[in-house]
Subunit: 140 residues, 2 copies
DNA sequence: TATTGTTATACTCTATAACTATA
DNA sequence: TATAGTTATAGAGTATAACAATA
């Protein structure tokens, strides 16, 4: 066994590209099983609590005008609802319905069992992985 | 300082979601500076060597019919060309033009300097990161 | 005046199905 | 027959600009 040569930063960047592609490939497949697009699945997953549409636009890194259509489609399927904020009537908070909550739980569970390698990491490896991810992708 | 508690697999999955989103956010921003969409940038980055359109469809995880349009637009901008394979005239190999090669180099360089945390990892950390990524996202 | 959300527009990405040309 | 690529179509995501309602 020769010792493992360290990857160059460029090689590591390539592997990050593969990992990011792999993550979204799995996520999109799980969402598609429920007839949801990637963006619809992303938005549902973000809605741990009610949020203004504007906040969703920031989190999804897209223009605010796109959020209207995505919420429209999720609302038509009964997965979210719009509620005008009493304190500032310009703001509409998007909220998961019960069916929306169920859907999110199912997506998360399936995604977890789809990322088989994750469950195999021991505690120390999880700590290490978390720290490395946080260094390269600091929280916005 | 309390010792760091290990993240649950579910928490680690959330962090992976943030990392993947962060990666594509950076990638899309770098591509957009050159008037390229995310998919156009992805395709250019995949073309380290000439490839059949069918292979590109597999790597991009999209239907073959989409590749036609994406290659059309890249070809119209002079970044790639189509070349019929002599051995099997059904196949068209997509090849980077010189301008395409330049564009890829620029994208990779800017992406690298955009992921500031990557250059800060020492050799041991890069080996560890590489191994963890490979375990969770084994090569297709 | 500034901000939130919507609408209209045009373009890109997307899968499906039907087609061609090659094999 | 099977495969590579294209076309047509319809739906979804995307940014831009203009707009209404609210602050």
């Amino acid at each position: 066994m020769t010792p493992t040569a360290p990857p160059t930063p460029a090689q590591l960047m390539d592997q990050l590209a593969q990992a990011a592609a792999g993550y979204y490939r799995s996520f999109a497949a799980v969402a598609a099983e429920r007839g949801l697009t990637l963006m619809q699945g992303k938005m549902l997953s973000l809605l741990r609590r009610p949020m203004p549409m504007r906040t969703l636009a920031d989190l999804l890194a897209c223009d605010a005008s796109n959020v209207t259509g995505i919420v429209d489609r999720l609302e038509a399927r009964g997965l979210v609802s719009r509620e005008t904020a009493p304190a500032d009537r310009r703001i509409k908070n998007v909220t998961l319905t019960e069916e929306g909550e169920d859907t999110v739980r199912q997506i998360r569970a399936e995604l977890m069992s789809s990322l088989t390698g994750l469950e195999g990491l021991d505690e120390e490896e999880r700590i290490t992985f978390q720290r490395l991810l946080a260094r390269v992708f600091p929280a916005a």
